[in-house]
């Protein structure tokens, strides 16, 4: 019993802070979701109208679709490259490991404002660096910021650039925590490199992979700053860069539809929760 009491004390700071700084704001936004409010005037009860409107709102569903597309465009290359980088860095004969780690982690340290300025310059229609590269090898230029897919690629590449090194560092920490004795034992039993990769490395990395999939799902579904600074509050040409949180932000803080914004937030919370559970089951189920 004493043992348990100490554990509750250990985990309590999070729940106490959450009760004070989390529950009230969440409760308030739930209350708002059932009201009509412009932030200044009186709140009027609105029942489920905000939610009903959301279900038929084409802009909301476009934002959901955009968010998923950008998530796919960014997460798959990001985790794939991160795993490769981690494996290369983990090779026993690699020198200058610190240098590489710093180089790969650098994008994550850079502030988002700077990142936005740089990527704006990389993908710009007229004076952009990518178009300069395309031109110099004789290819036609791409109007990145006018094409729906171009905008999504630009936003995704910002995410990939910022977070690949971060995930690589996590994978590397995971690789380093696998006891070397397991590989030695497998070698003695005559296992090939490929066999020990799939029988030892991947299963031992499973919690780490699960971690990166879940965090990138949550992060990807909440994508906001990148599209906001790159294409503005309207999501760029054809609203192709409009993500769910950007939509929530615009409805709440630009259009002052606080009640509807809150409802969008709750719709989004449901989507993230469902999607995370699906991912969790998929990644956990793989090994067993």
């Amino acid at each position: 019993m004493w043992e348990h009491r100490a554990i509750y004390v250990a985990i309590s700071p999070f729940y106490i802070l959450f009760a004070v700084f989390g529950l009230f704001p969440i409760g308030f936004s739930l209350y708002l979701a059932f009201h009509k409010w412009d932030g200044i005037g009186i709140m009027t009860y609105n029942g489920f109208n905000n939610f009903k409107y959301m279900l038929t709102d084409a802009e909301f569903w476009q934002a959901v679709g955009n968010t998923f597309m950008i998530w796919i465009y960014s997460t798959i290359p990001m985790l794939f490259f991160a795993l490769i980088i981690a494996f290369l860095l983990h090779a026993p004969f690699v020198k200058f490991r610190t240098l590489f780690r710093v180089g790969y982690f650098l994008p994550n340290v850079t502030s988002i404002v700077a990142v936005a300025i740089i990527f704006g310059a990389l993908f710009a229609n007229n004076y952009g660096f990518l178009n300069y590269l395309l031109q110099s090898v004789g290819l036609p230029v791409v109007e990145w910021m006018n094409a729906p897919w171009g905008i999504k690629v630009a936003i995704s590449s910002m995410v990939v650039w910022r977070w690949t090194g971060y995930n690589a560092v996590i994978y590397l920490a995971g690789l380093q925590s696998i006891p070397q004795t397991l590989y030695e034992a497998a070698k003695i039993d005559g296992a090939s490199a490929i066999q020990s990769f799939f029988r030892i490395t991947i299963p031992m990395l499973r919690p780490v992979i699960l971690f990166t999939v879940i965090t990138s799902t949550i992060g990807g579904m909440q994508l906001f700053t990148e599209p906001q600074v790159l294409v503005g509050n309207d999501g760029g040409a054809g609203a192709a860069g409009m993500t769910i949180v950007l939509y929530l932000y615009r409805e709440s803080f630009i259009n002052n539809y606080f009640g509807y914004g809150a409802a969008v937030g709750w719709g989004m919370f449901l989507i993230i929760a469902l999607f995370s559970i699906v991912n969790w089951k998929l990644v956990q189920g793989k090994s067993s």
């Binding site: 985990i11 999070f14 989390g22 340290v109 006891p179």
Partner: protein
């Protein structure tokens, strides 16, 4: 022997190629900070250093209280990082290695809080800070951020794999209570995870923008990102100066990361796990 050479050729080509791509935008940031704003919009793009770095930096230091903001940011980021490391590792260790009634639901609740977008509660959070009288105070930045679900989740994942149950059982037999087990057994093993979580938290607080922008009202309490945003607002077109300021704000993080990298390398976990 030949295969080993081929292997290392492939390995280094991959690593260096990837790193060049990874570092190019950062390199370009440095290049742009040494140029004038009109250079930045030239086509073809300017890819080599100019001579304007000192000019740009001088203007940054004239326009904003850079060093004051620097010290504010250092204080807030450092304090939050220490608090997060302590509270997150304590809770993460408890979730990783102990059974207690309600554990499953408490953990699900913890994960669920990560899924609530912070933008959703921006307005109510501000109302709360105003009620507490914390608007304009560092308390509004430090106290809500001193323990977080992400770190608990990360430490739990790490602790589950890296802390051997045998070691905990041995500790229990020696009569260690929960906090002794945390302090003497878990803490040394968790140290590589600390370097990572600490760096991550520090960087996050250092670069945080939206929340400080809302709650910091007193200019003397501005953090770097907010002070830099003043540059952006006042001199909309002077991008070269903004970029130079951004570069100044990033350099301390890079120095810190260089320092933390050694902690990653010294792989304390492996040493502790060996029998």
């Amino acid at each position: 022997m030949a295969t080993k050479h081929l292997k290392s050729l492939v390995l280094y080509t991959g690593l260096i190629g990837g790193m060049l791509i990874s570092m190019f935008p950062f390199y370009w940031l440095i290049v742009m900070s040494t140029r004038t704003t009109s250079d930045i919009y030239k086509f073809p793009p300017q890819l080599w250093f100019g001579g304007e770095l000192w000019n740009n930096i001088t203007r940054v230091l004239q326009q904003i209280d850079f060093w004051g903001a620097f010290l504010n940011t250092l204080f807030v980021s450092g304090l939050v990082t220490i608090l997060v490391l302590f509270f997150d590792s304590l809770a993460g260790f408890a979730f990783a290695k102990f059974e207690f009634p309600g554990k499953k639901w408490l953990f699900v609740l913890l994960l669920a809080t990560m899924m609530v977008p912070s933008q959703l509660s921006l307005v109510p959070s501000f109302v709360l800070m105003a009620t507490f009288g914390w608007v304009g105070s560092f308390k509004a930045l430090i106290i809500p951020g001193m323990v977080n679900a992400f770190g608990i989740f990360w430490i739990r994942q790490y602790a589950t794999e890296s802390i051997p149950n045998d070691l905990l059982d041995a500790g229990r037999i020696d009569g260690c209570n929960f906090f002794r087990l945390y302090w003497n057994v878990a803490l040394p093993i968790l140290r590589p995870a600390f370097a990572f979580l600490g760096a991550f938290t520090f960087i996050g607080v250092w670069n945080d923008y939206l929340w400080p922008l809302i709650v910091l009202t007193d200019e003397r309490k501005y953090t770097l990102q907010i002070a830099l945003s003043q540059l952006n607002g006042l001199y909309n077109t002077d991008y070269a100066m903004v970029i130079a300021g951004t570069l100044l704000a990033v350099i301390p993080l890079i120095i810190m990361f260089l320092f933390i990298s050694r902690q990653f390398i010294s792989d304390i976990a492996a040493g502790a796990v060996k029998d």
